[in-house]
């Protein structure tokens, strides 16, 4: 069963520290998405890639967040410096263009 994997699953860090989240999309999927989920805002799209090229990162605070796809098997989301308001569950999802998105299990981030 092909799945999206994410690491770490849980991360607790202190304000000001750098956080890196990793995602391995399903082989053969050409689009990768990063979402953030909070109780208040729901599911928000932060960034997405097609064929490893960034297509839209308008949902991401540019001063502290960055997203990359160094190769087809790895997507990263970095927060530097982290702030308590960044506490959320971060999901990575992958898919073939226009079709269903398969979500990873998420990274639960807590910034103290």
């Amino acid at each position: 069963d092909a799945r999206v994997t994410q690491t770490p699953r849980d991360k607790v860090t202190e304000m000001g520290q750098e956080v890196t989240m990793r995602c391995q999309p399903i082989l053969g999927h050409n689009t990768v998405f990063w979402y953030r989920q909070t109780m208040m805002q729901g599911l928000e799209l932060l960034a997405y890639f097609r064929n490893r090229a960034p297509l839209d990162d308008s949902g991401m605070p540019k001063d502290r967040f960055s997203a990359e796809m160094p190769d087809a098997t790895l997507a990263t989301l970095k927060i530097q410096p982290s702030e308590p308001r960044d506490s959320a569950v971060y999901f990575c999802a992958s898919g073939r263009q226009g079709f269903e998105q398969f979500f990873g299990p998420g990274t639960r981030l807590t910034v103290l």
Partner: protein, 113 residues
């Protein structure tokens, strides 16, 4: 702009039916429906493309009225396993190379025995 879902929450007894609505102020290319159980990732249910086609599998179906920019998800003869939060996600405009999904805030469905 985020689509609006209604109701925000619904409680059913096993075997009852429910309808969840999703509406947008923008012209829509497609509507996607996902279900998320507590502590888990969202799971895809179905996509509806422009054209008003009704889709379904098992006892869950959906419709898409592109003129009204609305979609509805129908759950019939609900089962305990249907409990969770249902999200609609919309792709607006002409579609094409735009795969950007904007999700509604979700509808919490609870099915009791």
């Amino acid at each position: 702009q985020q689509p609006v879902q209604s109701p925000q929450a619904v409680i059913l007894r096993e075997g009852e039916d429910a309808v969840i609505n999703c509406s947008s102020s923008k012209a829509l290319y497609s509507v996607h429906w996902y279900r998320q159980k507590h502590g888990e990732a969202p799971v895809f249910l179905m996509i509806l493309l422009k054209g008003g086609e009704q889709k379904g599998h098992d006892k869950i179906s959906a419709s898409f009225n592109e003129k009204k920019q609305q979609s509805s998800l129908y759950l019939t003869a609900s089962q305990l396993s249907y409990s969770g939060t249902y999200f609609c996600g919309t792709v607006s405009g002409g579609g094409g190379s735009n795969y950007k999904l904007t999700f509604g805030k979700g509808t919490l469905l609870t099915v009791n025995p």
